[in-house]
């Protein structure tokens, strides 16, 4: 302690601004949007030092804060970030700013509550990434369901209530089993510290059960096939901002959970069940890819493509065991992990951007049916430029961020098993098929109807949002080194942890 509580600020400043927004809504003459924008910008600003003063030579937790919280259970308010979680915190705060700007004109009903929900959620998601205490993690993990539940329920589409209750119950069901697992680990180790969990030896049966309990929680969140069914509903019904946060950040929570809990706490079980994870990942990549091709709803299509892309993330994480089995060396294992994490960040940017693009169209036309569009490029050329760019990033075109992650994962898979890599690489074709299909039908071709002809191109506000994202996607695609550099020691540390038996 004694240092500046940067991590706490990153959690509590947005929450405080969220409450402030709610209060400001009751006062006449205050535009709540500015309060929310200032709040999100301040949060982003205070999270920048996390990157600039990050020590990329060590895998140890940094900016650590620790204070007793519930002494009866030995729970502490224990925060810290490493190279895996720090980029995700930045991503969260970055996307929140964009979401606030994106909702500027669109949201008219209870605007203050809308902005407040996103700010509070940003704080809670930062909390998930920063917690080093399992109970604190769980509290943030569950708490962020509440604002999302409200966001989908109030500002969502026609079937929003069905979608939001399904979303809540699905994720709640997944997480309660994790809670039992956490309490079990607490009774074994005598504390809720995640690092203590990672170091304690556990028997094989217990490891398998723990792994499965964690898997239920994280698989629902990621989402992995076959527990992905809540995602298309939630995405389709959520307002644009909700979809963006859902795709960009919330899905990453599950993948982050695998990295922080499943792999290091139950390495032997992860090893034993790697076949399950790889098969589920491949099914997500192939089967969901095919499902995406036949979608008629733009949002649903992107939602399914998210599931397929997250399949890459899980594949990259669990392929490491197979690499070691095949080559007998650790060389190349880190590449799978690196690829998975780069893919997480990249997917956050790209899927968020795609949902924002669809939002731009939806705000003008109030339909998400692909068939209602056609020839949009004629009336919205600038928009079409961005949409094509993000579409290409989604297919993994070299030069965009999408390429880096997928390429690393496929390369790692080749070291492990030719056929796995072969099957995974099919995604490049499938991804191109559904994304290009979407672009073709929406943007190109003859102008579909008068409403499309009358479309106005994007406003400066929309240009700002999409432009910033486009820069990020290109920067990460051309030069991913700043990201890979900070996470390298943590990933190496994780790979070593995973390879050491805890029996």
């Amino acid at each position: 302690m004694g240092q500046f509580p940067l991590l706490s600020l990153v959690i509590w400043v947005p929450i405080a601004f969220g409450v402030l927004t709610l209060i400001a809504e009751r006062i006449r003459g205050i535009d709540v949007r500015w309060v929310a924008l200032v709040g999100s910008l301040v949060t982003l600003a205070i999270s920048v030092p996390l990157y600039t003063s990050f020590d990329a030579t060590t895998a140890a937790m940094q900016f650590v804060e620790r204070a007793p919280w519930i002494p009866q259970f030995n729970v502490s308010y224990y925060l810290g970030v490493d190279g895996i979680s720090m980029p995700l915190v930045l991503l969260t705060n970055f996307m929140t700013v964009l979401v606030v700007i994106a909702g500027w004109k669109v949201i008219t009903y209870k605007r203050g509550q809308y902005m407040a929900a996103f700010l509070i959620m940003a704080g809670l998601m930062n909390g998930v990434f920063e917690s080093l205490d399992a109970l604190l993690f769980y509290v943030f993990w569950e708490a962020q369901l509440i604002p999302m539940f409200i966001i989908i329920g109030i500002w969502g589409g026609p079937r929003r209530i069905y979608a939001t209750i399904k979303f809540f119950l699905y994720t709640f069901l997944g997480s309660v089993l994790m809670l039992v697992a956490l309490i079990y680990l607490y009774l074994q180790t005598g504390s809720y510290s995640i690092l203590a969990f990672q170091h304690t030896p556990i028997g094989m049966t217990a490891q398998i059960l723990l792994f499965l309990a964690f898997l239920v929680a994280f698989a629902v969140k990621i989402p992995m096939w076959p527990v992905h069914t809540w995602l298309p509903d939630a995405h389709v019904e959520a307002p644009t901002g909700g979809s963006v946060i859902l795709a960009a950040i919330m899905l990453k929570l599950g993948a982050y959970g695998l990295l922080r809990f499943s792999l290091p706490i139950a390495p032997d079980a992860s090893h034993a069940l790697q076949w399950l994870m790889i098969i589920l990942s491949l099914i997500a990549i192939i089967y969901i890819g095919f499902v995406a091709i036949v979608q008629r709803d733009m949002k649903k299509l992107i939602a399914y493509s998210s599931v397929a892309h997250m399949g890459f993330v899980t594949l990259g994480m669990f392929i490491v065991f197979m690499i070691v089995e095949n080559t007998g060396a650790l060389a190349g294992t880190a590449m799978g992990m690196d690829g998975a994490i780069v893919q997480m960040i990249s997917h956050g940017l790209v899927s968020g951007a795609l949902f924002l693009c669809i939002g731009v169209l939806y705000d003008r036309m109030h339909t998400r049916e692909i068939a209602d569009y056609g020839g949009v490029v004629n009336s919205m050329p600038i928009f079409a430029f961005f949409f094509v760019l993000f579409g290409m990033a989604n297919t993994g075109l070299p030069g965009t961020s999408g390429f880096v992650g997928e390429f690393m994962v496929i390369l790692a898979s080749f070291k492990a098993n030719f056929w796995v890599a072969m099957v995974a690489a099919i995604t490049l074709i499938l991804g191109a098929a559904y994304t290009l299909g979407l672009l073709k039908q929406v943007l190109w071709g003859p102008v579909a109807n008068d409403r499309v002809a009358a479309l106005k191109d994007i406003s400066p506000r929309e240009f700002l949002v999409l432009g910033v994202l486009a820069l990020a996607v290109l920067a990460l695609g051309v030069y991913p080194q700043p990201l890979v550099h900070v996470m390298e020691p943590s990933v190496h540390h994780l790979v070593h942890q995973v390879m050491q038996s805890k029996l």
């Binding site: 519930i70 009866q72 509440i146 209750i165 119950l169 709640f172 039992v180 309490i183």
Partner: protein
């Protein structure tokens, strides 16, 4: 034959409440209709006085009146909590009762006498004291429900409660008489010594335990002895439901502790099995049946049943942590239930009860503040962090895991997911639906302020649960 006066000091709060209740009864007769507010303020003053007296007792275990009465840390903590909740009941209901010409002195006098029953129960150290306290509480409750005598539904539920309650009391007495027959003592301390001395459980003792558990489960409203609970909750006037739904839960919890844990603790293996069955059934029936309800009070009734299942989880663990967890859960539940029924009172106005779940429609448009308060209550009951309800569930689940009942913990969390649905439905009505009813909420200052504090407490104690946990640990510390 020499007579020594017993130590009266540990029972001073009870005597004070008894005296004040009689005094208020008299004052009320002479004060008349127009100065009824005097009764209201005197009742609140009684609670404050009792709190002061209780707090100033020495926090050591003192047994007096020939082993009939005990004052210990548990008793002190629970009594103080009982005063707070009784005060909340009085504060919430003033406006409601005034609007319906139900603002009668009897409400306060019966309320105080019922609370006295709870106090006696809390301090019971003998089967007899326990029974007296229970009956005092129960009779006041029957009378309170029937207070609105022109209301057919209320009379019906009072009658139902009375008959079923009398049967349960009879069963309890029967169990107690068997215990007395075998052990020859009514004193809970000596009972525990006797059981520890016999080494193994006699069949007669197990019989007695069976009767006792049935009666206690009835008073708590646990399945399969829950039939009365939803009807009574729905039939009684909302302030009475508030009373019946909050304070007796403390009494039921303390009966479990005094009788089963302290008196019959040696027979833990035999009552553990019964409680496991009752607990799982309560969680199941409460969670599933609440889904089908349209009446808010009835839904809260079923939700009570499922919460009772969780409280029993802590008790059946039979460990120090288990009892602490059960106490924590009871306190949490009572705080949340008080707020929930308070919210129903807030929605009601002259000629409109506001007790249907659909009446919560569009509350976010009518009053964003109270919609947010109800949000805290509902997510608290769901057991979602960072609300207090989460830590209550955490505590009991940990207690259950601690004794190795992993399957029970898994069952418990699964039912928590099922019950989440109907709490979410209330949130859905408040936030996602629009209502034609745009009337601003009525309600006195006392209701609005205290209700806000009560709901915020669910959030605040959830963010900082350590003090409340420390209190529970303290209560069971020696």
């Amino acid at each position: 034959m020499n007579f020594t006066a017993p130590a009266f000091a540990p029972a001073i709060p009870e005597m004070f409440v008894f005296g004040m209740a009689c005094f208020i009864l008299l004052v009320d007769v002479y004060a008349g209709e127009r100065r009824r507010v005097v009764t209201y303020w005197l009742s609140l003053a009684t609670l404050a006085g009792a709190a002061w007296l209780t707090a100033s007792l020495t926090p050591t275990t003192q047994i007096t009146f020939d082993g009939m009465f005990v004052n210990d840390k548990l008793a002190q903590a629970l009594k103080l909590f009982t005063y707070v909740i009784t005060a909340a009941v009085f504060l919430y209901s003033r406006d409601y009762l005034q609007q319906r010409n139900q603002f009668k002195g009897e409400f306060y006098v019966l309320g105080l006498f019922g609370m006295l029953g709870v106090m006696i129960l809390i301090s019971a150290h003998s089967l007899l004291t326990l029974y007296i306290g229970l009956e005092l509480l129960s009779l006041c409750q029957y009378a309170l429900i029937a207070l609105d005598r022109d209301n057919g539904v209320a009379s019906e539920s009072a009658m139902k409660y009375f008959i079923l309650g009398a049967v349960a009391s009879a069963i309890l007495l029967y169990g107690m008489s068997i215990l007395y027959g075998i052990t020859g003592t009514l004193d809970l301390g000596q009972l525990a010594l006797f059981i520890a001395g016999t080494g193994f459980a006699q069949i007669g003792l197990i019989f007695a335990v069976g009767f006792v558990v049935v009666a206690l489960a009835f008073k708590f409203g646990a399945v399969p002895f829950h039939m009365w609970l939803p009807d009574v909750y729905e039939g009684a006037r909302t302030p009475i439901t508030l009373y019946v739904g909050s304070i007796p839960k403390i009494a039921a919890f303390v009966m479990f502790i005094r009788l089963l844990a302290q008196g019959l603790g040696g027979l833990h293996p035999s009552w553990e099995q019964m409680l496991i069955a009752i607990s799982v059934l309560s969680m199941a029936v409460g969670s599933v049946l609440a889904i089908a309800q349209t009446n808010m009070k009835r839904m809260l009734g079923y939700s009570t049943i499922s919460h009772v299942g969780y409280i029993l989880l802590g008790i059946l663990a039979g460990t120090q942590i288990g009892y602490e967890a059960a106490m924590f859960y009871t306190i949490t539940y009572v705080i949340m239930a008080t707020a929930a029924f308070g919210m129903v009172i807030l929605l009601s106005r002259r000629g409109f009860e506001g007790d249907m779940i659909a009446d919560f429609k569009g509350l976010n448009e009518r009053s964003p503040w109270f919609a947010a308060m109800m949000l805290c209550v509902m997510f608290g009951m769901t057991g979602a962090p960072p609300f207090l309800g989460f830590f209550a569930k955490l505590y009991v689940i940990e207690a259950v895991l601690n004794v190795g009942l992993v399957w029970l913990a898994v069952v418990a969390v699964l039912f928590a997911v099922i019950s989440a649905f109907y709490y979410l439905r209330v949130v859905k009505f408040m936030y996602f639906d629009h209502s034609d009813d745009k009337t601003p909420l009525e309600g006195g200052w006392d209701l609005k302020w205290v209700l806000s504090g009560n709901s915020l407490a669910i959030l605040a104690l959830g963010i900082a649960p350590a003090p409340l946990m420390a209190l529970c640990v303290h209560a069971f510390g020696f």
